[in-house]
């Protein structure tokens, strides 16, 4: 009979107590997809950078696993490390990233409007909206983008997002409000449709 998979808490205990690399690799395997997709969103689709940051996230998690108190879910803790890694990298690359983003936005100005003949919820239209949403997220500040990703993409409550972003709940709500205002302006063509 196949053994039931161990809970995250049990794997974490094995890593902390016995430095069990096999247990840690199981943790990485379980959470790599969520962490990498989150970082891909945060980095605006830069897969190489996202994977580098994901690797850094798991390395930091390994080093600090002893301080994980299990008050939050392990995935929430990982999101926090990943978001901090992204924000630190964004600060480091601020000038470079802003330059890339500005040019990207300029190129996309004509791409916002949906096709005139777009009707109901067809897959092509949904894909087009999804791409425009991703582009619209590029105009957000790092903190605003992080708040949107945690609340909408990672399905966290405001309180959990505040833990991840290490800021008050009110700040999360403000970031989301401002982000939505910016996205609304950027995606105005979709609202008229």
């Amino acid at each position: 009979m196949a053994e039931s998979p161990l809970a995250d808490a049990e794997l974490i205990a094995r890593v902390v107590v016995r430095d069990d690399r096999h247990a840690f690799s199981e943790l990485v395997r379980r959470h790599q997809s969520a962490v990498r997709t989150t970082l891909r969103r945060l980095t605006g689709g830069n897969h190489a950078l996202a994977d580098d940051l994901a690797q850094e996230t798991f390395m930091l998690a390994y080093r600090n696993l002893g301080s994980f108190r299990q008050e939050a879910k392990f995935s929430t803790w990982l999101y926090r490390i990943a978001t901090n890694a992204y924000l630190a990298e964004a600060r480091k690359r601020k000038e470079e990233l802003l330059g890339d983003r500005d040019s990207g936005v300029a190129d996309d100005e004509s791409g916002d409007a949906p096709d005139d003949d777009a009707g109901g919820p067809d897959p092509e239209r949904a894909a087009s909206l999804s791409m425009d949403m991703q582009r619209a997220m590029e105009v957000l500040s790092d903190a605003e983008r992080a708040a949107i990703v945690q609340c909408y993409h990672n399905d966290l409550s405001h309180e959990e997002a505040a833990q991840v972003l290490d800021c008050p709940v009110g700040t999360v709500k403000t970031h989301i409000l401002r982000a939505k205002q910016k996205m609304k302006a950027r995606l105005a063509a979709w609202a008229r449709d």
């Binding site: 430095d19 690399r21 840690f24 690799s25 990485v28 395997r29 790599q32 997809s33 990498r36 997709t37 969103r41 994977d51 994901a54 690797q55 798991f58 390395m59 390994y62 949904a126 909206l129 999804s130 949403m133 949107i148 609340c151 909408y152 993409h153 990672n154 399905d155 966290l156 409550s157 405001h158 709500k173 989301i176 409000l177 939505k180 996205m183 609304k184 995606l187 979709w190 609202a191």
Partner: protein, 125 residues
């Protein structure tokens, strides 16, 4: 976002924003449904971890030797005390009525104590 209570969620959601809220929620669902194949990622992470702390092979015998030397040193430093204690113990034991089962129990207790001490000394770090 999830269904958990969000006290002020309505504060930034109005009719004008409904289409954006719906689009964000749909985008979030699409994001969560996405699964990235590991494609060697886990192996790269594990390979990048610091090497496990390997204790030198000579550490355990050296520790045992040090404990033995320390015991011998104490015995040599206090020769009279060791003999006196041994003599007194023998005297007390000889003055007792000792049954065969009592001796057996003492031997078992001593063996358990010795085994526990050895297990403690040779435990994994």
């Amino acid at each position: 976002m999830n269904d958990r209570p969000l006290p002020a969620a309505e504060s930034y959601t109005n009719t004008d924003d409904d289409w954006l809220e719906a689009a964000l929620l749909a985008d979030g669902r699409e994001h969560r449904a996405q699964y990235l194949d590991d494609a060697g990622f886990t192996a790269r992470v594990i390979a990048a971890l610091p090497a496990p702390l390997a204790l030198p092979a000579w550490r355990r015998p050296a520790l045992m030797l040090l404990w033995a030397l320390a015991g011998l040193g104490i015995a040599l430093a206090l020769p009279g005390a060791v003999v006196d204690v041994a003599y007194d113990v023998m005297h007390v034991v000889a003055g007792q009525h000792v049954s065969l089962s009592g001796i057996g129990a003492a031997v078992v207790a001593l063996a358990v104590a010795a085994w526990a001490a050895a297990a403690f000394a040779l435990r994994d770090d």
